[in-house]
């Protein structure tokens, strides 16, 4: 209620410099962009009953998808059948749905295609926004964002957003979900002849009998090539880096098999080809017939610009077998997109990342901007956290990181601690097995989101937190409002250390590990459990080895990779996990039938946790006769029903009889010729 009053008070007139705006519209949370991640955070804010608004410049959500991908086929899978009914598990193979409680909003109800059409995504997002009644303000393009310092504000400042109509909005927290939509371009002599992916024709007939050069080597480049492969003379594709195949790098953003027809035609010498080279060195000259020739910027710099094409040196003049000496009819640029930095005032210090992450704004592992407190980046634009590693740039990944950000915000601004469940310690193995088998967030956002188990004192109970951003593990207590007094487990999914990579042979023999004792060498995605006696410090996090999501733990366990990703095998998966947990906690986590607990109660002063938390509380596991029989047969339960009161069970045991034999003086002893021989050999 206080907040509502505050909100109205803020509808004041404010003049800065020459510009005098009439009024602010205040919201606690402002979201820019009604794409998948914008709608996703809107859903969580709405569920939590927060004051929020989503600004969308288009008239409908997901405007990126109305244009892209140009050839309309999404490469995110939409698996109809998994053989399982577990809805959480099935999300692992549904890369398009957003998270909600509404079962109608599952993508499989929208399309039966394994690779659905982009129009379906647009329709889905429209439904998501309308069915869930999300607060989206359409036709509102935020053109400028500044800060308004105020000690009273949540973060020491308010965000002032201005739209195309100079309407101002004041927000306590800014959630940027604008994606990356500004096409990457390169400028070189002749780049004016280059067509962009965003406008190039998608009608293959337009390419009939043409020779095409494609700049770029991502999915959009291959998608474009795939479309015209059958009708062109040939296609050449040039890019600085080697092709990175998704199935070798285990990164869904690299070249997916569905688009890789050109690799076939290249390797089978069917005229198409791939080349490596720096686009910055390139130059394109057009001849009189309109054909495009590839030359090098270097040649152009040394010539008189006024002279015609004839005066330009082409590489083949000096090197007569130069690879791209054939002229092209078209050159198409497919270089991807970058984040739109232009709308943020300098004071927000929203900086581009370094190196290959320069298309993304710099953010912390908590998704908060490095430059401005209270500004969170969501969705594709937040991919710098796990670029080329995990799925944070894609719907099936950022739907979970968005949820994590929401939990962080709830704790920070509304004192709602991170959701958790408290279990008795006897459920420790179970709770981990359950999660690693069904959890989708852990699975998609491997090495980024982790489940955290906080041990209570004396390790009799624990608290389970799901899908926490592992990069801010050191800040766990502050970020979640939960305490880690007695150590913690971090459950995460990982690929093998040296398994993934553009140049790796991922099909080598013995690539998969089968034995639990070699689980640490597992290559395919598998659960890893880190144990820390104390929460790692920020310094330990900072100094962790490169490419490790976590610092050195006090103990580590790998659950051996599984062909079916089904980690429920009692001996290969659950037993080694239990041993690991037992040794971390220094206790015995076995299950016992009531009869065993009875015996322990009479013969020991202390009871194992299972008896302590079950039998003693009158919840013992009696077990059917048949099961008890099995346990007796296995030697794990003693059968006292026919108990022999003399108590001498040693007779007839193999050792016993051997002793008897040895003591027997009448025992025949054969000659030891071979032993003597062996002695001679020495």
């Amino acid at each position: 209620m206080a907040r509502a009053v505050w909100g109205t008070l803020l509808r004041l007139t404010l003049c800065t410099g020459a510009v005098c705006t009439t009024a602010f519209l205040y919201h606690d949370y402002c979201v820019i962009g009604a794409g998948p991640s914008g709608l996703q955070i809107a859903y969580f804010l709405q569920q939590a009953g927060r004051d929020y608004v989503v600004f969308e410049r288009s008239h409908a959500p997901g405007s990126f998808f109305t244009l892209y991908p140009r050839h309309r086929k999404l490469i995110s899978i939409n698996k109809q059948y998994t053989g399982k009914s577990n809805s959480e598990f099935n999300l692992r193979h549904d890369w398009n749905s957003l998270l909600s409680h509404d079962h109608r909003l599952l993508f499989r109800h929208y399309s039966h295609d394994f690779f659905p059409d982009a129009d379906t995504m647009v329709r889905y997002l429209e439904d998501f926004a309308s069915l869930l009644k999300l607060q989206v303000q359409y036709n509102t393009a935020i053109v400028h964002v500044t800060l308004d310092r105020d000690q009273q504000a949540w973060n020491g400042h308010y965000f002032i957003l201005m739209d195309q109509n100079r309407q101002n909005y004041k927000c306590s927290s800014l959630l940027v979900a604008t994606g990356t939509w500004v096409p990457n371009v390169v400028n070189f002599p002749g780049s004016e002849y280059v067509e962009g992916y965003e406008t190039v024709s998608i009608n293959p007939e337009d390419f009939a009998g043409q020779t095409v050069l494609i700049l770029g080597r991502g999915n959009s480049a291959f998608e474009t090539a795939e479309n015209i492969l059958g009708v062109t003379n040939f296609i050449h594709m040039v890019s600085r880096s080697r092709v990175r195949l998704s199935w070798a790098t285990h990164y869904v953003g690299d070249l997916r098999a569905i688009n890789n027809g050109l690799l076939d035609t290249y390797q089978l010498k069917s005229l198409d080809g791939l080349l490596e080279g720096d686009l910055e060195d390139l130059a394109i000259v057009k001849d009189k017939k309109g054909k495009l020739h590839i030359t090098l910027r270097f040649y152009l710099e040394n010539r008189n610009t006024s002279a015609g094409i004839d005066s330009i040196t082409l590489p083949q003049d000096e090197l007569d077998n130069f690879a791209t000496r054939a002229p092209y009819d078209r050159v198409i640029r497919c270089l991807g997109w970058k984040f739109d930095f232009s709308i943020y005032n300098r004071s927000l210090r929203l900086m581009p990342g370094k190196g290959n992450k320069k298309k993304y704004p710099q953010i912390k592992p908590s998704y908060e901007s490095r430059g401005t407190r209270g500004l969170f980046v969501l969705g594709t634009a937040s991919h710098s956290v796990d670029f080329r590693k995990s799925a944070g740039g894609f719907i099936h990944g950022f739907r979970y990181t968005t949820r994590a950000v929401h939990h962080l915000l709830e704790n920070r601004h509304h004192s709602v601690p991170w959701p958790s469940t408290v279990y008795p310690i006897t459920q420790l193995t179970n709770s981990i097995i359950k999660r690693v088998n069904e959890a989708s967030g852990l699975y998609q956002m491997f090495s980024v989101l982790a489940d955290i188990i906080l041990l209570r004192e004396n390790a009799t109970a624990f608290e389970y937190l799901e899908e926490y951003p592992v990069g801010v593990l050191a800040e766990l207590e502050a970020q979640t409002g939960r305490k880690a007094p007695s150590g913690l487990f971090v459950i995460i999914m990982e690929y093998g250390r040296n398994f993934s990579g553009a140049d790796k042979d991922v099909f080598y023999y013995n690539r998969a590990v089968g034995e639990a004792q070699h689980a640490w060498q597992s290559n395919f995605l598998h659960p890893v459990i880190y144990y820390y006696k104390c929460l790692p410090t920020e310094q330990e996090m900072r100094l962790r080895p490169p490419n490790w999501s976590l610092p050195r733990p006090d103990a580590i366990h790998h659950i051996v990779e599984d062909f079916l990703t089904d980690w429920t095998a009692p001996n290969a998966h659950i037993l080694p996990l239990r041993r690991f947990l037992e040794n971390c906690l220094g206790t015995d986590l076995r299950n016992f039938f009531a009869e065993s607990c009875f015996l322990f109660a009479f013969t020991r002063q202390k009871l194992p946790p299972f008896c302590q938390q079950g039998y003693v509380r009158m919840q013992g596991l009696v077990g059917s006769k048949r099961l008890q029989r099995h346990a007796v047969d296995a030697g794990l339960l003693e059968d006292y029903t026919g108990a022999d009161l003399t108590g001498d069970r040693l007779l007839g045991s193999p050792e016993g009889s051997q002793d008897q034999l040895l003591r027997d003086h009448a025992m025949p002893v054969p000659p030891l010729q071979h032993l003597v021989n062996a002695k001679d050999e020495l």
């Binding site: 009914s85 809805s87 290959n356 179970n430 097995i433 359950k434 990579g501 689980a519 640490w520 060498q521 080895p545 490790w548 103990a555 790998h558 429920t568 009692p570 001996n571 037993l575 080694p576 041993r579 690991f580 037992e582 220094g586 206790t587 015995d588 076995r590 299950n591 039938f593 009531a594 065993s596 009875f598 009479f602 013969t603 020991r604 002063q605 202390k606 079950g614 509380r617 009158m618 013992g620 596991l621 009696v622 077990g623 059917s624 008890q628 099995h630 346990a631 296995a634 794990l636 029903t641 003399t646 034999l661 040895l662 003591r663 002893v669 030891l672 071979h674 032993l675 062996a678 002695k679």
Partner: protein, 771 residues
């Protein structure tokens, strides 16, 4: 005679390096009987390094056999026998004491194995071989009255691995050491023949087999024990006693003796000592010389036994050592990291052995996310078992649940169903299922009840039946109330044994008010009708708090002199009182029963629970008795068990008859601390049964950056700023890692082939430090 052995108990932490001496030092250091391998070199002159390396490597291996390896630096001008000749420098010399046994050309000692083999082969000659039993007999006879003998059966496969065991004997030249082969015996065994004391030529010498694995350390231990006096006579405070046995961590049995019976006690002690030779020591404690024996010995708790039979002592010690041996064996296996693959969870194993049996689930409705809510409307009561199909306890309960379904077949208004939370996590989350398994009963009206009793067929079935009755049941007339207390009402329950609780409150009708007077209580009160004894008891209700009333009813439902069973023990454990429990094979005798009941009834508020256990109904009681007594005593036996404080167990003297008076006076003595407990319950914590895979350690060998994180990460942040070069470096490092991993993998396979050789050597080292 045995002193020599102590020489070998060296410290494993010593770094094995090649000592360098000058000739004088060397020759003066030579001890009689000790072997050493030396090679001579001139100062500043270096032998070909491969040899040097190999001989350095053999230092540790040979030291295991008590052979020292020394490099002797000859002064330049020295022209003595070993230093002078140029030829001599190409040789290594094996000495025993200061006697040269053999010289080796250095090229014969090309690696560790050849060095060790060559050296040991020579010393090996000192072991005598026996091929027939007659030969053994001959040697035995020749030694009688003079010397003892160590004698070993060795499996005669003749591989190098086994020969190393033979070499061990070479270290004990003072004993007549014999070897014998027997192909049928799978493992080598060592015997100690006590011939020194044997006087009668017709009798074979006594033999004591060594029961541990044949490692040098165990042999040392064994021989040391054999050398110890058979019976130690103690005339001082036992706490100050220190014998070889205690030093080696073995038990020491004190036999208390009186002046009058000294001779007989001495004979008993010797008899016991022979039986326990090598397993425990025996000391004869003259009781008349010292006062009370209390407390612990060297910090080890002492277990008292009233000696009725020497066998009892022997069994006790042997069982203990057997137990320890098993543990030791387990430890050894852990090192191979194989045995912790074995399932040691009885529930998991039992369920997995039963997994192929198809459960008859016809009586149980399988619910899904879609059908869960509609099923609730189908029956007055919907029982739901929430479980996970991969979880063992769930599956064990499912089996009992199937039996419950069989029992309840045809019961109206109850529908049994199950939800597999692995298939339908949504339902389970919504129903707030945090534990597997959970059983809930949903009433049509929407109320639900979570079952929190014993997870057994009978308990669950009766819970379901009782839950059919609306609770609380409103009784309109006195007749109904009477019927209810007799168990006739409600009719659904008439055929089931159950206890009934009737609440009588002031609002009740006046006649009921009167009735409550019949039970000698005034409202508010509870009337409690136990199913067993038909009696109705009135209990005044002083507290109004729900928790307190529940607690009161629970408490009142307990029997005065209960038969303890697996199912009801927890109810009595909650009282946190000591148990006075009679173990009986079958029904308890009338006389005892009467006396015990008298005892129990006489003192309703007393500080202990009087109860009994029928071994026929609760066979696991045998296990309890075995834990309390070394052997099962004659039954019935009355025992006082302090389960919650101290864990002491006392046995009611069997020569006294079980009467209230006797028991009470015995209890007085207990309180006064005049009785000695027959055993004390272990206070041990429940530690992990077996170690886990140490992946962290395994990773360290191949992923070093994980350990050296600080330095590595710094370097890497620099690298990241120079992308081109970092990529190169990264690939180089990855290649290295790849190689080392391949190496590690290669290393594993031969390691496994060599099980029992290389790992054993390592394992033995470990044991040295334990001494």
């Amino acid at each position: 005679q045995f002193k020599e052995f102590e020489v070998f108990l060296y410290d494993t932490d010593t770094v094995f390096c090649l000592p360098e001496l000058d000739p004088q030092e060397y020759f003066s250091s030579l001890q009689a009987g000790r072997a050493s391998l030396a090679y001579f070199s001139h100062n500043g002159m270096y032998l070909t390094s491969p040899f040097l390396e190999q001989i350095e490597n053999s230092v540790e291996a040979l030291q295991d056999y008590g052979i020292s390896v020394v490099k002797v630096n000859c002064p330049k001008e020295d022209v003595s026998r070993y230093c002078g000749k140029e030829n001599a420098l190409r040789k290594a010399y094996l000495f025993r004491g200061n006697i040269l046994i053999r010289e080796f050309p250095t090229d014969a000692l090309f690696d560790v194995n050849s060095i060790v083999a060559n050296v040991l082969a020579l010393l090996f000659n000192e072991v005598k071989y026996v091929e027939t039993l007659a030969d053994l007999q001959k040697i035995e006879n020749s030694l009688k009255g003079r010397s003892n003998m160590v004698f070993a059966y060795v499996p005669a496969t003749g591989t190098a691995g086994n020969n190393t065991q033979l070499f061990l004997f070479a270290l004990f030249p003072e004993l007549s050491l014999l070897s014998n082969g027997e192909p049928d015996v799978s493992s080598a065994q060592l015997f100690f023949c006590h011939c020194q004391q044997a006087m009668d030529l017709a009798q074979p010498c006594r033999r004591t087999p060594m029961e541990q694995a044949l490692t040098m350390l165990n042999i040392h231990r064994h021989l040391k024990l054999m050398g110890a006096p058979l019976v130690t006579e103690v005339a001082e405070d036992p706490e100050k006693v220190s014998t070889v046995h205690l030093q080696l961590g073995l038990p020491l049995v004190f036999i208390l003796s009186q002046k009058e019976t000294y001779e007989a006690d001495r004979r008993t002690a010797e008899f016991v000592a022979w039986q326990l030779l090598g397993k425990a020591g025996v000391a004869l404690l003259s009781r008349y010389l010292i006062s009370g024996v209390q407390g612990t010995l060297l910090g080890v708790p002492i277990k008292y036994l009233v000696l009725e039979d020497t066998d009892e002592v022997i069994t006790l010690v042997k069982d203990k050592s057997k137990f320890e041996q098993i543990q030791e064996d387990e430890d050894e296996e852990d090192e191979d990291e194989k045995e912790n693959d074995n399932q040691d969870d009885q529930v998991v194993e039992a369920v997995s052995r039963d997994r192929k049996r198809e459960l008859p689930l016809e009586q149980i409705l399988t619910l899904t996310e879609e059908t869960f809510h509609s099923a609730m409307l189908e029956a007055a009561r919907l029982v739901v078992l929430f479980y996970a199909s991969w979880e063992a306890v769930s599956l064990a309960v499912l089996r009992s649940y199937v039996e419950v379904a069989g029992h309840l077949k045809g019961t109206q208004g109850v529908l049994l169903s199950q939800v597999n939370c692995w298939d339908w996590p949504g339902v389970c989350t919504k129903e707030n299922i945090t534990q597997f398994p959970t059983i809930k009963i949903y009433e049509k009206g929407g109320r639900s009840l979570t079952y929190n009793g014993m997870l057994g067929t009978e308990e669950l079935a009766s819970f379901i039946i009782l839950s059919q009755v609306s609770c609380p049941l409103k009784l309109a007339t006195i007749d109904e109330a009477e019927g209810y207390l007799r168990g006739e009402l409600p009719s659904e329950l008439s055929s089931y044994h159950h206890s009934s609780v009737l609440g009588v409150f002031s609002k009740a009708t006046s006649s009921l008010f009167f009735r409550s007077h019949k039970y000698a209580v005034s409202p508010p009160a509870l009337l409690l009708a136990r199913s067993r004894d038909q009696s109705v008891e009135g209990i005044p209700l002083s507290k109004q708090n729900v928790q307190d009333i529940v607690q009161l009813i629970r408490y009142e439902l307990l029997d005065i002199f209960p038969e303890i069973t697996v199912q009801n023990l927890p109810h009595y454990l909650q009282l946190r009182k000591p148990l006075l429990i009679m173990f009986s094979d079958g029904d308890i005798g009338q006389m005892e029963s009467k006396e015990m009941l008298k005892l129990a009834k006489g003192r309703p508020q007393q500080a202990f629970v009087t109860c009994w256990l029928n071994l026929k109904n609760t066979p696991v009681g045998h296990g309890v008795l075995k834990a309390y007594f070394a052997t099962v005593p004659s039954l019935p036996v009355l025992v006082w068990v302090n389960l919650h404080t101290g864990g002491q167990v006392f046995k009611f003297p069997p020569d006294q008859s079980v009467t209230e008076m006797n028991i009470l006076s015995w209890l007085e003595k207990l309180k006064a601390g005049l009785e000695i407990p027959i055993s004390t319950l272990s206070e041990e914590d429940w530690k992990p049964p077996l170690p886990a895979y140490n992946f962290l350690q395994m990773m360290e060998t191949t992923v070093p950056e994980f350990t050296l994180h600080t330095s590595y990460s710094r370097r890497d942040t620099q690298e990241q700023q120079q992308p081109e070069s970092s990529e190169e470096k990264a690939t180089v490092r990855e290649e290295q890692l790849e190689e080392s991993r391949v190496e590690a993998e290669k290393g594993q396979t031969p390691g496994r082939d060599l099980r029992g050789t290389a790992p054993r050597l390592a394992g033995r080292e470990k044991r040295h430090s334990e001494l």
